[in-house]
């Protein structure tokens, strides 16, 4: 009985080995693909750090973070990143002030008030806002929103953070609305039924049960919106003015980190010059900012995931 069995099993074993080798190779290839993501991050950080290191050989880190002027391309060069940071933060804050309330209300409306059909039609249309090239929004801010604001407040300069921020806010409404709506829809129906069964109205259910239950998802949406706002380029480059100014006054114009990078990149800065390095140093600051937002968002999602 034993002997013939051996015969039938050994070719099978050989086949097993061949199969296993093939499986390993495939897994390795797939893993390499997944590692591309890691490699990209390392490449980004590497490139930014590499050029920034040269930059910081010329410029002291202390000056970089404390000086109040940013004029690396002028003869009288100053290297204080703060004016760019203030511009970035101000425009982002305005954008969020617009997008967070409107986006959240829209999300609640779509998820709890609109009919299924309305939601399924409106949401994709809203998401189209994401697909509009941001240059278009930039010129929309400069040629449409700014004059509109000027008709209310004539003292407003042509380049101001207010109009850029507002348009940027409108631009990121869909992110907040769509992601928050997803989060609210993920709240199990049993939770809603529980509330309605208590005699709650739609509004009460939405505000007191659904939104709190979806908090983590909603906050994660906000965080994503923050990093979008901070990283948005063309709108601010076109509409906020490109003059680095240390100000948090939305009625003034100012440059953001992104606007500075793209402004410099538009001319062909010679590789190796301090100006070339300065955009990488600015990029590094931007990267650190968005990275920290992303990590906070990741942490929030992880911490609160699947509570029901």
């Amino acid at each position: 009985m034993q002997a013939p069995m051996e015969l039938t099993i050994s070719p099978r074993l050989a086949k097993n080995i061949r199969r296993n080798v093939k499986e390993r190779i495939i897994e390795l290839i797939l893993m390499l693909a997944a590692l591309t993501a890691v490699a990209t991050t390392f490449a980004i950080v590497g490139v930014l750090l590499y050029e920034s290191v040269s930059f910081f050989k010329t410029v002291s880190v202390v000056e970089f973070f404390t000086a109040t002027e940013w004029t690396p391309l002028f003869e009288d060069a100053h290297y204080g990143i703060m004016p760019l940071v203030s511009g970035t933060l101000t425009t982002s804050a305005i954008a969020l002030a617009v997008a967070v309330p409107i986006g959240t209300i829209t999300a609640i409306f779509l998820s709890e008030f609109a009919s299924h059909k309305a939601r399924e039609t409106v949401k994709p249309i809203l998401e189209l806002l994401v697909g509009v090239p941001t240059v278009v929004f930039g010129y929309f801010a400069l040629f449409f929103v700014t004059p509109l604001l000027q008709s209310v407040y004539p003292e407003l300069p042509s380049f101001n953070m207010l109009s850029a921020g507002i348009v940027m806010g409108v631009m990121i409404i869909p992110y907040i609305a769509s992601l928050s709506e997803d989060a609210m829809r993920a709240v199990p129906m049993s939770m809603r039924e529980g509330s309605y069964a208590m005699g709650a109205t739609r509004f009460q259910t939405a505000i007191k049960v659904v939104a709190p239950a979806a908090t983590s998802g909603i906050v994660a949406a906000y965080i994503l919106a923050v990093s979008r706002a901070v990283g948005e380029t063309m709108v601010v480059a076109v509409a906020a003015g490109q003059q680095p100014t240390l100000t948090f006054n939305p009625l003034e114009g100012a440059a953001t980190i992104t606007a500075y990078i793209v402004q410099v990149a538009m001319g062909d800065l010679p590789h190796g010059s301090i100006g070339y390095q300065s955009i990488f140093a600015a990029g590094l600051v931007l990267m650190v900012m968005t990275l920290s937002f992303n990590i906070i968002g990741h942490w929030i999602r992880k911490k609160y995931r699947e509570h029901y």
Binding site: E23, I44, G131, I173, T201, G231, T290
Partner: protein, 312 residues
Amino acid sequence: MEHKASVIENLAEVRAMIKRHKRNDTLFAVIGLCALMLGLITLMLLFWQLIADGYPKFTIDFLTEFPSRRAGQAGLLSAWVGSFLVMSVTFLTAVPVGVAAGLYLEEYAPKNWFTDLIEINVSNLAGVPSIIYGLLALGLFVYILDLGQSILTAGLTLGLLILPIVIVSTREAIRAIPVSIREAAYGVGATKWQVVYDHVFKYSYGGILTGVIIGMARALGETAPIITIGALTFIAFLPPSPITAEPPFLNFEWLSSGFTVMPIQMFNWLSRPDHAFHINAAATGALIIIVTLLMNGTAIWLRYKIRKNIKW
């Protein structure tokens, strides 16, 4: 009877209260509708403005003419061909890598710190501003790898930019496939790769495609990273054709060719002194939005179709 009276009295009170509460419902519905309309109206306004400004250029000539110093004759030919070629490179790089990465993370990756690292990486990359990708491309592709300001550089840059989108949508599509299908396949003796390829991938590619299209639509409108690699140029010719008459019939010279893309051409026209060019720019903007709309529409339609056809 006393009981009955109290019940009814109580009811009247309850009714009054409900009426009050329902007023909030209505109020919020109105506010919500306004909030929603704000986004929609902005989009409409933008779109309408572009159409109104650009409609004189809605002609075939606009698509078949090269850019020109005369606004009236200027066309989009080199820009849309450039966009198409750049998008092809983007597609060919981001999709295989992204799908493979998604399959790995969802089906293969053990749960340990290493895959956690990859996960955090992917979600971070999704939030990295596009201009940073531009800097990466400038530092790495243009200078270190010396690829120049070419279609290849732009395609790779945008490919990296949408990679996280492809990975995430792949993973989501895969997650929709029930365990029971996997177990069924394993149950008849399939190997891991057979399960992954024959089932997981094949049943999810519709969902993957949806994500890919949305990513591509986004890449199509990207301006900042392309400017950053320094591609703001007058190009009034087409790159060498990828297909040739003689063997080997394929030609890769176009990859290293200079190029322009639609948003860049639009940007270029907008910065002209002559206002006639702004009409071209508006028409280009409208065209980009229309293409984006079509792409997103396709994605939505696909998603709808998949949901309808496959019910697990």
